[in-house]
């Protein structure tokens, strides 16, 4: 039970029920889709990059509590960051949810540490991040977790 509580922390449940920046972004100059064919989770991430910095970021789509909360909190933590900083944060986040990081200097994103006890859910937690990376790199194809 405690592991479940670690996974489904209040902050995560709150974000999954009321996701932030959950909309299409007309001004976006970067956009990519992320898709998990195993469970059907599907997100589109929109990014507006001005002068090398993320001016605005939003997402749309459907998925489980973990993937939706992760997308929501990702958008909150990236406004104003450069593409390089966003990429670095993804690396740290990936380390965290796979049990290789400690969540230092990650702010609220540290609540996802519980995912590391559920290896099958790592793909859920990183789906929107994969889409973000694809968007910033300008990849046209939808990224898949498989």
């Amino acid at each position: 039970m405690s592991e479940l509580r670690e996974l489904y922390q209040e902050v995560i449940l709150e974000h999954s029920k009321h996701p932030r920046n959950f909309r299409a972004l007309d001004a976006a100059n970067h956009k990519a889709e992320g898709y998990n064919p195993l469970c059907g989770d599907h997100f589109t991430v929109y990014v507006d990059v001005q002068d090398g910095a993320i001016q605005d970021i939003a997402f749309q789509g459907a998925g489980c509590a973990i993937s939706k909360a992760s997308a929501s909190m990702m958008t909150q933590s990236l406004k104003g960051k450069s593409a390089g900083e966003a990429d670095e944060l993804f690396t740290k986040f990936h380390d965290l949810v796979t049990g290789h990081g400690n969540g230092d200097a990650m702010g609220k994103l540290a609540v996802f540490s519980g995912v590391s006890e559920f290896p099958l859910r790592v793909k859920c937690a990183t789906l929107a991040w994969h889409a973000l990376r694809a968007a910033l790199r300008g990849d046209q194809e939808a990224v898949s977790t498989e």
Binding site: C39, G40, C64
Partner: protein, 420 residues
């Protein structure tokens, strides 16, 4: 008034399964998962194996391993005998007229691909149509899409209603002058719907259209009689009927199989080979190129015998009881919607919960020791039909019990507690 009512002679008596004893035949069930007793409710994905099957594999490799149909030595003779005995067991199980109509394949998927690539390529041409239903598993969609794309033919799909039942009138309307083939599930893996096969097959045969039945989910759950159904092909998977993975069966009417070109070329499927001409072997070997999966074929025979000993009617009744029991408990839980409420239904209970994703439900149930499937169940068009991304699917087997259903219900309440 006497309480000992006389049983009418027309009603056959079906013996109840002794589930407690049966569970001892399945050593895997006796384990804890995350500190809770395993409740295995993912039988539509794959079933567990009884000792008879596990021991058949071990016995073959310990005592009889050798190649079949060629050696003159004792081991080869024994291996061949057991392999062919399995074919006869499957023939009996499916009530086929002749054991040469039983072709061993890797599974249902390969059986369907075999028919699409041999019968299909020969008889389906540009502008022709192949008719399937909206409840098919991907393995009974994609082989026909590949064929239609290659031939310039069209895949037509008979619709299902909101209960997940085939709209039989629409199905009949779709049987047109260009329809060259029908492929349909006996029992839907995602919804549990049992299709009215006899009626559908009659409709198709009235127009001289042959019918393939995907029997992967039905074979472990009810007595199958391919002659009574009058289907032209019937495909099954060993691992979904308490046998091993990697082995399955294609039943085909001999007259059709005889006229079909071979599927794969190689050893065992030939009568003679010269560089000018190869003469193909007789049925069923024409469709069994290469050294087959001997051990698992023999173990499939053991699985079939196990099912026959318990009795398919008893298994069907037991699972029907579990499904009815589970349905009336689960439909009462607030926020739960059962997906697939056909009148004729077996084995499978798919559901969703308001505002809770199936993946999250699956994780919480897993921590309770309960194994269910979450996702689209390789039937994405079914999910699209109901406008949902996925469902949770509990699927029952002959070893499941009412207390296990109670554990599932408790687990669903736990989901509401954690995520609600």
């Amino acid at each position: 008034m006497s309480t000992a009512a006389k049983i009418p002679e027309t009603v056959s008596v079906v013996n109840a399964l002794d589930v407690e004893r049966i569970r001892r035949d399945f050593p895997i069930l006796n384990q804890d998962v995350h500190g809770k007793p395993l409740v295995y409710l993912d039988n539509a994905a794959t079933t567990q194996k009884p000792l008879a099957v596990i021991e058949a594999i071990e016995h073959y490799y310990r005592h009889d391993n050798s190649n079949i149909h060629r050696g003159v030595h004792a081991l080869s003779e024994r291996a061949t005998e057991h392999y062919e005995k399995s074919r006869s067991a499957v023939q009996r199980f499916l009530h086929a007229a002749d054991n040469k109509e039983i072709i061993f394949t890797r599974g249902t998927t390969e059986a369907i691909n075999l028919v699409a690539q041999t019968y299909g390529r020969k008889h389906v041409g540009a502008g022709d149509e192949v008719l399937i239903t909206a409840m098919e598993h991907h393995s009974n969609i994609v082989p026909w899409q590949i064929l239609c794309e290659e031939k310039g033919a069209k895949l037509r799909v008979a619709p299902i209603n909101d209960r997940g039942e085939l709209e039989v009138e629409e199905f009949e309307k779709l049987l047109g002058p260009r329809t060259k083939f029908v492929a349909v599930a006996h029992l839907s893996n995602a919804l549990g719907t049992i299709n009215p096969l006899r009626k559908m097959i009659r409709m198709a045969h009235n127009r001289n259209v042959p019918v393939l039945v995907d029997g992967a989910q039905a074979a472990p759950r009810m007595s199958v009689d391919v002659q009574a159904l009058d289907c032209d092909f019937y495909a099954i998977s060993g691992h979904k009927m308490y046998g091993p993975t990697g082995i399955g069966v294609l039943y085909g009417k001999a007259v059709l199989l005889e006229a079909m070109p071979p599927y794969q070329g190689g050893g065992d499927m030939i009568a003679s080979v010269t560089f000018d001409k190869t003469i193909y072997n007789r049925l069923p070997y024409k469709f069994e190129a290469g050294t087959p999966n001997i051990a698992d074929t023999i173990a499939l025979g053991a699985a079939v015998e196990y099912l026959e000993q318990l009795g398919l009617d008893s298994i069907e009744q037991h699972e029907h009881d579990l499904l009815a029991y589970a349905t009336q408990l689960i439909e009462k839980i607030p926020g739960v919607t059962i997906v697939g409420t056909a009148k004729e239904k077996a084995g499978v209970l798919s559901f969703t919960m308001d505002n809770i994703h199936p993946h999250d439900i699956g994780t919480i149930l897993d921590r309770e020791g309960i194994a269910v499937r979450t996702g689209h169940h390789c039937a994405q068009p079914v999910m699209q039909r109901f406008g949902i991304p996925a469902t949770v699917r509990a699927s029952f087997g002959l070893y499941n019990t009412r207390p296990e259903v109670d554990a599932l219900v408790k687990g669903i309440h736990k989901v509401n507690e954690v995520l609600g």
